[in-house]
C-alpha cells in the first residue's frame, strides 16, 4: 500500500508481499505513488469485501471468483484489463473511488517532510485504446487541500489524451493549483504515443501542439518495461542503442510492432520530429525533458541491479523467477513477455532548489531533470556560446554555468554564428561502476526539412584513441559472470569536459542531450543466478551498460 512505498523509499526496512525483508542501500529524496485511476482500490475490497462491492452483481461475482481457485482469480484480473481495453467500466463503485483517492493523498501527506523527504501526490491515467499504450502519470504540485477537490480521471471517462489535458486545465482553474502529465512506455504504444496525428486521426495543428507542450513538459525514457531512447534500426550508428529493448508489440500484446511504427515509439526520433513541428507550427509539441521511473507494482522502488526486488508480487526474488514463463496480458494477445525481460530501471535525478513538492515540480516544468537506468550517476550540463576548455572543472561550476549559459532543459538562442559549447560534469555512482564515456547526442533539421541525428563521444576513460572510422574502442569488460562481480580497474570516476559542436549550422534547429555510459556491469539476472545458484538464461545479456540521459538543450536560430 502507499504507506509501505513511502516508508521503503525513505530508507526503512519493510517486508515484501512474499515475505522478504527489503531495504534500499540509499534512501530516496522523493517518491510519487502513481496508482492506476481505473478501479483504484478495488483489489483491497476484493480481498476484504465491502457492502458497496457486494451490492453490485459483477462485484459480487468478482469477489467470489477472487476467493475461488487460482484460475477463477486470474479471470477477474483478465476481466479488469479487458474492460479497460473496451472502455467499459464493469463495476461502478463511487464510494471506493473517493476513499481510495483519499488514501493515496493522505498517505503522501503523512510522509511528506519538506526539506527531508518529498512525497508527491499523483496517479496514473492508463489509456490503452486497442492495446496501444498512451499511459500518463499525473503529478500534483499541491497538497490535500487542492488535490482532494477532484477525483483522478479514469479511462472510462476518456481514453483521449486531449481530454486528460482538459482535466488538468479544469483542475488548475478550479483549485488554483498546478499539475502536469508524464507520458511513459512509448516503446509499447504501437506507434501512437508520439504519432503525427491526434487520437481522433487529425493531423497535429498548432492548438494541439500548444496543449501538449503545456501539459507534458517531460517524458519517461526508461523503466522496467524497457528503454525508450532509440533502437538499432532507428540509430544504426549508435553502438549503445541495443539496451533493454521491449520492441515486440504494444502494451497489451494485441499487435506486433512494425518498423514503420518505431520512430513514433522512441524519444530520440521524436525529439527530432519536434524540431520540424516547431518550424512548421511555431510550437514544438515534443519539447520533452527526460526522466526515469520504475513502474514497479509491488510498492518497492528498488532499481539497483544487485537489489532488484521485482516488478510485481509474482516475480519478487526467488530461485524460480528467472524461469517464469512468458505471459499474455489478454487471451487475444499475440505476444507475451516474461519477468526475465524486465529491466532494473529507472530513476530520476532532479536539480531542484530544495527538497519540496513545489521545487521538484518546478524543476520538472523547466526540464532540469535527468534519467538513469538505476544507477546514481551525477550529470550536470550547461550550454552556451562562450564556454571554454577547463570550465567544467571550475570551483564555481554551477554559478558560472547559470550565469553564462542554460542548464539542461533550456533554450539557446543568439550566438552570432558561433558554435555552441556544452560544459559537462559527470561523476560515477559513488557506490557503483566507473564511467566509460560521455556522449552528446545531437538531432537537427536541415534546410530541406530532413531530420538527422549524430552521437559524439565527448569524453572518455583510459586514454583511448578513436579508430580510423572515428569510433572509440570499447572500454573493455571486467564482468565475472559466475561470480556476478566486476572491477573498477577500467573506466573513470569523473569525466568533465567542454564539448563544442564541430558541425554547427546556425540556420538549423537542433537539440543536444548528454548520455553517460558506465563500464559493463552484471545485469540483475546475473546477480540472481549467482545468489540462487541457478543457471543464467542465455536469452538476456549477462552484462549491461547502465547509463544516464540528460534532458536536452534546444537551439533555434534567432528570429526563427
Amino acid at each position: 500500500m502507499p504507506e509501505d512505498a513511502f516508508r521503503f523509499a525513505r530508507g526503512e526496512e519493510v517486508v515484501s508481499t512474499t515475505g522478504l525483508p527489503s531495504k534500499l542501500a540509499r534512501p530516496y529524496d522523493f517518491l510519487v505513488v502513481t496508482d492506476h485511476s481505473d478501479y483504484m482500490g478495488l483489489l483491497q475490497v476484493l480481498r476484504d469485501g465491502s457492502p458497496e462491492l457486494q451490492a453490485d452483481p459483477t462485484g459480487k461475482r468478482w469477489y467470489d471468483a477472487f476467493h475461488g481457485t487460482g484460475e477463477q482469480s486470474a479471470t477477474v484480473f483478465r476481466e479488469f484489463v479487458e474492460s479497460t481495453l473496451a472502455n467499459k467500466q464493469a463495476v461502478k463503485l463511487p464510494g471506493l473511488a473517493k476513499s481510495s483517492w483519499e488514501l493515496a493523498v493522505r498517505s503522501a501527506e503523512k510522509y511528506n517532510e519538506p526539506g527531508r523527504f518529498t512525497a508527491i501526490i499523483g496517479f496514473e491515467w492508463s489509456s490503452h485504446p486497442g492495446g496501444d499504450n498512451l499511459h500518463r502519470n499525473v503529478i500534483f504540485r499541491d497538497g490535500p487541500d487542492k488535490a482532494l477537490q477532484v477525483l483522478p480521471l479514469t479511462t472510462f471517462e476518456s481514453s483521449d489524451p486531449e481530454h486528460l489535458w482538459q482535466y488538468l486545465a479544469d483542475y488548475e482553474k478550479k483549485t488554483g493549483g498546478h499539475i502536469l502529465a508524464i507520458p511513459h512506455n512509448s516503446d509499447l504504444s504501437g506507434g501512437e504515443m508520439f504519432a503525427d496525428k491526434t487520437l481522433g486521426g487529425k493531423p497535429i495543428d498548432k492548438a494541439y501542439a500548444e496543449q501538449r507542450a503545456k501539459w507534458e513538459p517531460v517524458a519517461e525514457i526508461t523503466q522496467n518495461k524497457g528503454d525508450s531512447e532509440t533502437l538499432p534500426i532507428l540509430s544504426p550508428d549508435d553502438e549503445f542503442a541495443n539496451f533493454e529493448r521491449w520492441d515486440k508489440a504494444n502494451i497489451l500484446g494485441t499487435k506486433l510492432d512494425t518498423p514503420e511504427q518505431q520512430p513514433f515509439n522512441y524519444l530520440r526520433p521524436t525529439l527530432t520530429r519536434g524540431l520540424k513541428y516547431e518550424a512548421q507550427l511555431g510550437v514544438n509539441p515534443f519539447k520533452l525533458g527526460l526522466l526515469g521511473g520504475s513502474d514497479i507494482h509491488n510498492a518497492l522502488s528498488a532499481v539497483a541491479a544487485d537489489n532488484f526486488l521485482g516488478t510485481t508480487p509474482g516475480n519478487e526474488p526467488s530461485a524460480s523467477r528467472l524461469k517464469i514463463p512468458p505471459h499474455k496480458v489478454t487471451k487475444d494477445s499475440v505476444a507475451a513477455t516474461s519477468p526475465l525481460e524486465s529491466a532494473s530501471s529507472g530513476m530520476s535525478g532532479i536539480w531542484a532548489k530544495e527538497n519540496t513538492r513545489e521545487a521538484i515540480f518546478d524543476a520538472l516544468k523547466r526540464k532540469e531533470v535527468y534519467a538513469t537506468t538505476g544507477t546514481r550517476i551525477t550529470v550536470r550540463i550547461f550550454a552556451g556560446w562562450d564556454f571554454k576548455s577547463g570550465d567544467a572543472d571550475r570551483s564555481d561550476f554551477a554559478a558560472y554555468g547559470y550565469a553564462h549559459g542554460v542548464p539542461m532543459g533550456g533554450d539557446l538562442t543568439g550566438g552570432k554564428g558561433k558554435a555552441p559549447a556544452i560544459v559537462i560534469q559527470a561523476a560515477k555512482d559513488p557506490d557503483g561502476a566507473n564511467l566509460d564515456r560521455v556522449q552528446v547526442i545531437k538531432g537537427w533539421v536541415d534546410a530541406k526539412g530532413d531530420t538527422h541525428e549524430k552521437v559524439f563521444d565527448a569524453a572518455w576513460s583510459d586514454g583511448r584513441k578513436p579508430g580510423a572510422d572515428g569510433k572509440l574502442p570499447p572500454v573493455g569488460n571486467t564482468v565475472d559472470v559466475p561470480n556476478a562481480s566486476y572491477s573498477n580497474s577500467i573506466g573513470a570516476a569523473v569525466l568533465n569536459t567542454t564539448w563544442t559542436d564541430p558541425q554547427f549550422n546556425p540556420a538549423e534547429r537542433a537539440y543536444y542531450y548528454v548520455r553517460v555510459i558506465e563500464i559493463p556491469t552484471p545485469r540483475w539476472s546475473t546477480y540472481d543466478a549467482k545468489r540462487f545458484g541457478v543457471e543464467l538464461p542465455t536469452s538476456v545479456p549477462a552484462a549491461v551498460t547502465q547509463r544516464a540521459y540528460s534532458s536536452p538543450v534546444w537551439y533555434a536560430p534567432s528570429g526563427a
Partner: protein, 71 residues
C-alpha cells in the same frame, strides 16, 4: 556581585539563548562589505545538489498489481 554569581548568570543567559535557538532571533540585514549575506545558502538561487527518486510507482491501491499489470 561575586565572580561565582556572575558566572552563573552568564551561563543562564547562554542557556536561554540556546533554548530559544537561532530561529527565535530576528534576522538582520547583511553588514558584509558587498552587502551579500554571510551565510551564502540563505541567498539560494540555484540548485546545488541532485535529488534522487522515483516518479512512477504502484502499490496495492492499484487494481492491477499482479502479472496482469500492463503498465
Amino acid at each position: 556581585m561575586n565572580k561565582g554569581v556572575k558566572f552563573a548568570l552568564l551561563l543562564t543567559a547562554m542557556s536561554v539563548a540556546a533554548i530559544q535557538g537561532a530561529d527565535a532571533i530576528a534576522a538582520k540585514a547583511a553588514n558584509t562589505k558587498d552587502g551579500k549575506p554571510y551565510s551564502a545558502p540563505t541567498d539560494k538561487t540555484v540548485p546545488l545538489r541532485v535529488l534522487w527518486g522515483d516518479l512512477h510507482l504502484h502499490t496495492g491501491n492499484s487494481s492491477m498489481p499482479a502479472s496482469t499489470a500492463p503498465g
